[in-house]
Symmetry: C2
Subunit: 324 residues, 2 copies
Amino acid sequence: MYSFSEISRELNKYIDTLDLSGDPQSLYEPIKYSLEGGGKRLRPMLTILACNIFSENPYSALPAAAAIEVFHNFTLLHDDIMDNAAVRRGKPSVFNKWGQNSAILSGDAMVICAYKLLYQTPTEYLASVLSCFNYMALAVCEGQQYDMEFESRDDVTIEEYIAMIDKKTAALVVGATMIGAITGGAEKHNCQKLLTFATEFGLAFQIQDDLLDAYGTEEQLGKRIGGDIVENKKTFLTITALQKADKAKKKEILDLLADKQMANEEKISRMIAIYDELDIKTLTENEINTRFDKALAALDSIDVAAERLEPMKDVARSLLNRKR
Amino acid sequence: MYSFSEISRELNKYIDTLDLSGDPQSLYEPIKYSLEGGGKRLRPMLTILACNIFSENPYSALPAAAAIEVFHNFTLLHDDIMDNAAVRRGKPSVFNKWGQNSAILSGDAMVICAYKLLYQTPTEYLASVLSCFNYMALAVCEGQQYDMEFESRDDVTIEEYIAMIDKKTAALVVGATMIGAITGGAEKHNCQKLLTFATEFGLAFQIQDDLLDAYGTEEQLGKRIGGDIVENKKTFLTITALQKADKAKKKEILDLLADKQMANEEKISRMIAIYDELDIKTLTENEINTRFDKALAALDSIDVAAERLEPMKDVARSLLNRKR
């Protein structure tokens, strides 16, 4: 079993020295740029950490972990086109730096690079890993489509929202974790518990992302605050606000969402004022905490020596800024 | 061994009844639409025909053949965004009908659907098929990037052009054929010959496509004549014309290519007049014929009973409008 910092070092070394070069360079440069973008590398970390719970050789999952990270960055490249996003992790997005066509095509190449990496999984686990990856990847596309559709809808329920982020965000967290568990040779009953952990953790993680968009700092978020509000994204905060508001307040929110003339800064500060009024921050924090507790309980119920779970707990806690 | 028409019937039935549905429908509808678009289904046909040369059960390659067709249609969805193309196979392109974001996202989902289909390949051949598919898919992206770069260059040589279409078009023809051969259990020396066949045939096929853009009918092409000329595409015709032209004529061609004011119809007819003057049609036809003859010679050298090669020859001939 390896510690979090040992794993982190190995994983970063592996991803930083991945050979994703080729001709024409103009196709591969945006790929390199996006992988060097300073992301948290949460998802590939989950892969190795999950493998580490069950196996003495967690690094056999390194190629699959890298595949997950490459796939995740591909989704960001294409999402940034669809969201018209100029900044990603504090730097110009690929879309902004190289243009739309490059972002489309380099993104496409990244999906294939991900499958090439996946292919290096130990043969005995390859079929299960591929099957899990395909399921995950399609779910991510479905989630993104729901997310775009929700932008033009005002009647999205919390249940619909949770189903959307379950695909758009949690599926990748779940896929990353399960692929690690499979490669670690985890038994079925333990996989089931890890699935619950990853699902609840993935949902909590997305809801925290929603929260940071309104109440975080640019540094925490890696992009400008209020982007979701400007883009009319249906987030946990918006939907909860609409649910809690009385008739007059609901109209105020809907008018604000529909207003295409208002300056971005004003729109953001007015929406946050409404959130404050309705105590949305506390409600959102409660939701995150509830889900995180469920996630931890599922993790604790896995049938291995308790210490094997510590590195996974450390990373989950640190990502949700939780002390314990 | 099955005949061309038997195989064609089975293949169409398989692709037409593929279950590519799911939620949200808005993600899967463009996928269905693009597969029903009435394409020639040349590439999956090559997969089954190649398998049919070596195996009594060519239909074991049906899932891989469908994967090739789904992947091919994915490239069209994304190419149409990059080329700003409103029409595909005589119908509105997905990009035109559902918008850019849908075309990006449904295209992404198609790549994953292709890998899901591939996964149904008989286990003994899966690793080789996946490896071949990955190689092919990345080559297609590289070729598309070169093609885009060539649009803003006036000094593209014939060698560079051939290297570009070798990736952009021939790689998919080669991949489709080789995946069929692998699934049919072909031996290495026969694979090598089939590779030469598919490469030369793929190149001839693309050069014919270039020819049809200037000298074909809209019915043959499935889109408006002269699209390559309007888009400043570097085709076999343009590059050969630049090569054959004297200094004055070369300037005329370059001025025409650079002119962004001229009406499309005029630009097309003036370029075709130059082609006529330089006898580009004949030169292009000669190139197609030379490559096709090389392709057939390689096919004939495959070490099987001659009759097993007939269905493959039939389809190659019919696609290049050749009697023998």
